[in-house]
Symmetry: C2
Subunit: 144 residues, 2 copies
DNA sequence: GGTGAAATCTTCCTGGT
DNA sequence: ACCAGGAAGATTTCACC
């Protein structure tokens, strides 16, 4: 068996849709037994294809009503400082190092416009920022 | 009990770190019994705070060696067409509707530069594009 | 790689405080 | 809201193909 055959593809799709499915439930879907599904999943984990299992929370319900991307242009020597600053901010979801004039891109969420303003102000100490506010997410796709 | 007390916060943190933890394991961590943890999780799900449980796959291991954001400026009347196009593309992870001159922002992955070029070319039929290639992800933060 | 069966653990349900 | 106990079901391990 190759690690990315049809059956494992279906297992990956199922686990992306619901990571708490039991091996028995998955086994029924793909036409195998539970131990055999468990073995396949273990190999996918060992190979690093499955990185982790995570619960996705609803930002709105936690008070984060705004989502934005902040492009930060700053010297590479400040990257570490930005990263350390970001570590303590629940508002910062991800920090990307990107190619081009803009050097860092931050995926952020905020509880209010004032909250967002504060983030941008603090980031301004590192370099120049450009903020793109998100209206809505039109689509989300699974990986497999 | 309020739905977002200290205990539920810890449960949410644990489930974000590993969505496949058993109720018994979580119960040991937070000092409760399994049925009581199960009840709390059920309420968090019902309230929509927990949206879903998902397996996170490693894009690299699936052949997606490139990550990029594509900003697409196009008339609002084309949004639906873009969305339909994106639906059939495994390369497109998310589509955001954003404020400003740029109207849509696509989070994409590609297997090669040629693959990325093809995406950009196809998107060009909807409007003007600007692509930001991602070097690396410096940080990822949990929500709670 | 896969199965089937036994031992162990988890979950689900009920009833009690 | 939480706990305890028991039934039902899931996981894990192992011998076998």
């Amino acid at each position: 068996m190759t690690l990315l055959d049809e059956t494992n593809g279906r297992i990956l799709t199922l686990l992306q849709q619901n990571a708490r499915l039991t091996h028995a439930q998955i086994a029924r879907e793909v036409g195998l037994t539970a131990p055999s599904v468990a073995e396949r999943i273990r190999k996918l984990e060992d190979a690093g294809i499955i990185e982790r299992y995570t619960a996705t929370l609803n930002p709105q319900k936690l008070g984060y009503t705004l989502k934005a991307f902040i492009h930060l242009t700053c010297p590479a020597s400040r990257y570490r400082a930005v990263q350390e600053w970001a570590q303590n901010k629940k508002e910062v979801r991800e920090v990307y190092h990107v190619l081009g004039q803009v050097s860092l891109m931050l995926d952020v969420q905020a509880r209010s416009i004032e909250d967002l303003e504060k983030l941008v102000q603090e980031l301004s100490t590192f370099g120049t920022t450009e903020t793109t506010l998100v209206f809505s997410t039109l689509m989300h796709q699974n990986m497999w």
